[in-house]
C-alpha cells in the first residue's frame, strides 16, 4: 500500500508540474500549425532560413505576423530569386537595396498592382513583400487590411524623420 501511494503521489506531482512546464513552453514558442503558409513552404528548403514572428509589434496598438526568409548561402539566394520571380538585374542595382510590392495572401511571389492588374482582389487579401538584395532576405508582412499596411508605411516614415 505504501509503495503504491508513493507512486501515485509521484505521478500526481509529475502530471501537474509537467503540465505547467508544457504550458510555459507553448507560450514562448509558436507551434508549427500556427506558422504562416509561406513559412511552412520554405522552412525545409536548403540554404534558406525561414522564421515566423507572431504578433510583431508595429506600434503600441498593432501587431502583425511576419515571415522572414534569409538566404544562408548563394544557392539559397538563387532559389529565392527564382521562387519569387525576381530578375538578377534587380540585385545589381547599387542605389536601391530594398524593393517592396504588394502580393496576394500566401502567394508573395504573385505581385499585385492595382493600377495595371485586372484581377479583382479584396484589399484584405493583400500583403506587403519586401526584399533586401544587400542582406539577401525577403520579408512578408501578413497584413489584414489597408489600415495595417498604412501603419507599417507610417512607421517607416517616422523612423526616417
Amino acid at each position: 500500500m505504501k509503495r503504491k501511494d508513493t507512486i501515485i503521489n509521484i505521478l500526481i506531482f509529475v502530471v501537474i508540474v509537467g503540465g505547467a512546464l508544457v504550458y510555459r513552453y507553448m507560450q514562448s514558442v509558436v507551434p508549427y500549425w500556427q506558422c504562416s503558409e509561406v513559412y511552412k513552404r520554405y522552412h525545409k528548403v536548403e540554404g534558406v532560413r525561414a522564421t515566423y514572428v507572431k504578433n510583431y509589434p508595429v506600434n503600441d496598438t498593432l501587431t502583425i505576423g511576419v515571415t522572414l526568409l534569409e538566404a544562408t548561402d548563394s544557392a539559397g539566394w538563387e532559389y529565392l530569386l527564382e521562387a519569387f520571380n525576381i530578375p538578377h538585374e534587380l540585385t545589381e542595382i547599387e542605389d536601391i537595396d530594398v524593393w517592396t510590392w504588394q502580393a496576394l495572401r500566401n502567394h508573395p511571389e504573385e505581385r499585385y498592382n492595382s493600377m495595371v492588374d485586372d484581377r479583382q482582389v479584396e484589399k484584405s487579401d493583400l500583403e506587403i513583400v519586401s526584399i533586401s538584395t544587400k542582406d539577401q532576405e525577403i520579408c512578408i508582412f501578413h497584413t489584414r487590411n489597408e489600415q495595417e499596411r498604412s501603419t507599417i508605411f507610417s512607421k517607416k516614415i517616422e523612423a526616417n524623420i
Binding site: 500526481i12 522552412h43 522572414l68
Partner: protein
Amino acid sequence: MESKEERKPTVEEMFEAYRQYRQRLEERIEQGPGIEVDFSALPSNRRVVWTNKIRTTVSAAIVAGVLILPTIGSEANACVLNQGADKVGTVEAVECMIQNL
C-alpha cells in the same frame, strides 16, 4: 504440509491490531510510573494516506503556479517566434526592413 498463503492484512485488521496494542500499552502505563501519552493526537492510517496526497497536490500546484504566473498578462507573449528561431536577430532584421521599405 499445507503451504501458507501470504495475505496482506486489511486496513480493518491493522486497525484492530493497533487498537489492541494501544489497549495493552495503556494497561501497562496504568501499572507503570505515571507516563502520559496523548493517543488522540496520533492520526489514523487513512487520514495519513489522504493527507500525503493533498500535500503532494498542493505542493505541485504551488510549483506549477510559480512556473505559469510570469506568463500571465506579461509582454513575453507579445512577440513569439517558431521553435529554434533567433529572436533578437529576426526582430532587428524586420525592423531594418520596415525602415527601408
